[in-house]
């Protein structure tokens, strides 16, 4: 059976739980961005909402694919549903897993890239046509990377780590530009945790316990984002 990489068995299920929490945080931020977009009608908030929706759907895709891998009853049900398409012997079961991981990688990479663009640009630049066409080129590259990463998963996590590293730099600049705003610092910190998580994912190939560390750092990153979000919501 196809697996992206081998994870510690005792951790199976816990990772899905962690990702579930991260998914809820991503949805909360997307919902608040939508609220601000409706209020201000400014595109940057719509882009930000789309980015966090992609994070949520990317995580949902990973959760679903991992669940099918981990849990036998769910695998049976999925096999039953897919059998008319892939044949009774599920000769093409690999295709299902590859498609699942592909969706995850594509959505996550696109989301990180969009967040990087938003944190990078001045408020009006994303409206311009040439910026959108530039993004189309990046989407093509993400598509390519996601495809290659299905055979060499390290490519996905390395690319994510690079984009997240640049995003952290942007958030550091934002922290300085906002007179060391406490919440801007928390956002930067959360992206540092998510970056560390992706760095650990790269090394799962050498030592699979790094998967646990990576998932924990990812959870801490999203919990820090949740803390920032709730602090903002409770203020004023």
């Amino acid at each position: 059976m196809y697996q992206l990489f081998f994870t510690p068995n005792w951790f199976n299920g816990l990772d899905i739980f962690f990702e579930g929490i991260s998914l809820i945080v991503a949805l909360l931020i997307a919902a608040y961005s939508l609220r601000i977009y409706r209020f201000t009608k400014e595109n940057r908030f719509a882009y930000f909402m789309v980015a966090f929706l992609m994070v949520a759907f990317g995580l949902a895709s990973k959760m679903f694919t991992s669940s099918v891998l981990y849990y036998h009853p769910l695998r049976e049900v999925t096999a039953g549903v897919l059998s008319p398409i892939v044949g009774p012997g599920l000769e093409f079961a690999d295709l299902f897993y590859r498609a699942g991981f592909f969706v995850e990688m594509f959505l996550m990479l696109a989301a990180w890239l969009l967040i990087f663009f938003i944190s990078q640009k001045s408020r009006d630049r994303l409206r311009k046509y040439h910026e959108v066409s530039q993004m189309a080129l990046f989407i093509y590259l993400i598509f390519l990377i996601s495809f290659v990463a299905n055979f060499q998963y390290v490519v996905f996590y390395l690319t994510s780590a690079v984009i997240l590293g640049l995003t952290v730099l942007n958030y550091y600049k934002n922290y300085l530009n906002t007179d060391k705003n406490e919440n801007a610092f928390r956002v930067m910190l959360s992206f540092i945790f998510i970056l560390l998580s992706n760095v650990f994912f790269v090394f799962v190939y050498f030592y699979n316990q790094f998967y646990v560390l990576a998932e924990i750092f990812m959870l801490i990153g999203f919990l820090t984002l949740l803390g920032t979000y709730s602090k903002i919501k409770r203020r004023f």
């Binding site: 942007n170 600049k173 906002t178 919440n183 801007a184 956002v187 920032t228 203020r235 004023f236």
Partner: protein, 97 residues
């Protein structure tokens, strides 16, 4: 005050904030100076704010001069708008949007 052109939403925020800073009620002339707007522009914004029930206007009689003057009050909805706007601005600053 910054030299940058204020957006419509920022103008509304500045008007409501000026009223709040004066204890929730203000005379139109004071509001004009506090929010740094022309008489015409302020009136057009006030019409909108009245329509959305963010402010209300009270007519007050000056017994000595025997004249009527107006006072603009910030409503609860207006206070809610200010709080929500501050939260949104905090979110925007935090995420560098």
């Amino acid at each position: 005050m910054s030299n940058k052109r204020r957006s419509r939403l920022e103008l509304v925020y500045d008007i409501l904030l000026s009223i709040q800073n004066k204890g929730g009620k203000i005379k139109p002339t004071h509001l004009m100076y506090k929010s740094n707007l022309s008489h015409k522009l302020l009136n057009s914004y006030l019409d909108e704010l009245l329509g959305k029930e963010l402010v209300r206007v009270e007519d007050i009689e000056n017994r000595k001069k025997k004249t009527m003057s107006k006072v603009i009050h910030l409503t609860d909805k207006g206070s809610g708008f200010l709080a929500e706007y501050r939260r949104m601005r905090e979110f925007t600053d935090a995420f560098g949007l």
